[in-house]
Amino acid sequence: MSQTDKMLQIARVDLSYFFRTKWLLATLIGLNVTDMLVVGLVYNGMMAFNYFEFFAPGVIVTGLFFASFDVGRRVHLGLTEGVSQYYLTLPVSLNGLVLAHLLSAGFGGVIYAGILTVIAAAFLPSLVALNTLVLIPYMFVLSMGLAGIAAVLNLFSKAGERYWVFADGIQTALVSLSTIAYPLQVVSKFFPSYLLTFVEYNPLSQGAEALRTVVYGTPSDPVFNFPALFLTSFVLLVVGVISYRHVFTRLRESGRI
């Protein structure tokens, strides 16, 4: 049995843990669906442009972000409850274990975002469903990249409570400082230039703009391009690999998280 097979088995069991956490799924679906179909629709009537069309891809990317970021919660629980120690006893290499977690994050993000896309498609006549298929590989890479942020969080927040606080804080900050809920033109009038650059290259902005461009078949904003999305995600993914390698090596060497 190859290392790849073993890695995929760990990725699968890790991913299934995400979908078995009913309260989490209820939270995510409750938030994302009501954001899209209630907040998006009501704001649509309060704004001078088609906000629903603008916002729906943003919600899909938020869903992708939350779903892929959940790997951080799973690893944190694994570290505190001892499942990570169990993984360390299995005949899989350290790289295999690290990639298994990041792969499960990638799949989790894409599957969850896919569900949201299907829901959005029922309400968006302009959505070119087939176009979204083109995006799957990019969304997968983006999802694994976003998991890299969770890995960094696992690396630095050892104590129980701190992890949850930082995780919520990072999610709030990244979503607020992106073009998920407002166009870049509005942001540019409000933020100083350095913050604007952050918003532009925030992977959530890149993901949302990618969806807007591909889904509606028209370019939505000049800042978006596939190489930038790919590059940002890839860098984050590498950071994620290094972080998780460090987390598990530290567990082996010091016996502590």
């Binding site: 956490t21 009913k22 309260w23 989490l24 799924l25 209820a26 939270t27 679906i29 409750g30 938030l31 669906v33 009501t34 954001d35 209630v38 907040v39 629709l41 009501v42 704001y43 009537g45 309060m46 704004m47 001078a48 906000y51 409570e161 701190r162 606080v165 919520d168 804080g169 709030t172 900050a173 607020s176 400082l177 809920a181 407002y182 509005v186 942001v187 009038k189 409000f190």
Partner: protein, 252 residues
């Protein structure tokens, strides 16, 4: 009663020790109010001063989240074994219930107080508004806590289902209400649903208390009645259901 108060002191001190969460609530407020609220209010064209509208809504959201946490904490205690210990202490079930509610109120004041002051300062409201609005928020808080605690009978069967219900309900209650947008801006169907949501009455009452001029705000007298009725009824329900459920609580 003295024993109950010493438990309250212990729990409050524990909350003070939990500085990261308190700071998180303030950071959450800062991002939502100074970034999200600012930017979205620039996009809204149908409502004057949406920024203020959003700020008050945000306070309601925070009250909701913190009160939900307080209710959940009680139920979590049952599953982590803490509640069994509390049941063995020398105070009545009613006192225990009261302690949880008082704790929720204290935590709300600590975590919402500073953001509330900030919003009032920004919109230039007098100090008297602080007391009125705090009263409205705490009134709502009691209702929300009562609701979460009353639902605990579900949690004693399955904590997962309880968490899922609470999570789903939180999303729906906030969005199908006037917390983020007035009734006049909603599609008719959403507006109809929102009229049956106690959060709508709480949010509109808060805006009334702050003299926010929105024509579609619900009648303040009616809002007072609804907020008070929800508080009293959920608490009464909780006090009736929980002691019975407590003694049969299953651990998992």
């Amino acid at each position: 009663m003295r024993e109950m108060l010493s438990l309250l002191r212990f729990d409050v001190r524990e909350t003070f020790d939990s500085v990261p969460w308190t700071v998180y609530h303030w950071v959450f407020f800062a991002f939502q109010y100074f970034v999200y609220g600012q930017l979205v209010s620039r996009l809204v064209v149908t409502l004057n001063n949406y920024y203020f509208y959003y700020g008050t809504g945000l306070l309601i959201i925070m009250t909701f989240n913190i009160s939900t946490w307080a209710g959940r904490r009680f139920v979590e205690g049952a599953h982590e074994g803490r509640l069994r210990y509390l049941l063995s202490l020398p105070f009545t079930r009613g006192e225990l219930f009261l302690e949880q509610v008082l704790l929720g109120i204290v935590v709300n004041v600590i975590r919402i107080g500073p953001p509330l002051v900030l919003v009032l300062l920004i919109v230039g409201m007098p100090f008297t508004s602080l007391l009125t609005s705090l009263l409205v928020l705490l009134g709502m808080s009691v209702g929300i806590m009562g609701m979460m605690i009353s639902l605990s009978f579900v949690a004693f069967k399955s904590f997962d289902i309880y968490s899922a219900i609470v999570a789903g309900m939180s999303a729906v209650l906030i969005r199908f209400s006037t917390v983020l947008y007035p009734l006049s801006s909603m599609p008719i169907s959403y507006g109809t649903v929102s009229r049956f949501n106690p959060l709508t009455y709480g949010a509109d009452l808060l805006r009334n208390a702050l003299n926010f001029d929105v024509p579609s705000l619900l009648n303040p007298e009616l809002s007072v009645v609804v907020v008070a009725a929800v508080g009293v009824s959920t608490m009464t329900l909780g006090m009736a259901l929980v002691p019975r459920a407590l003694e049969g609580v299953k651990s998992s």
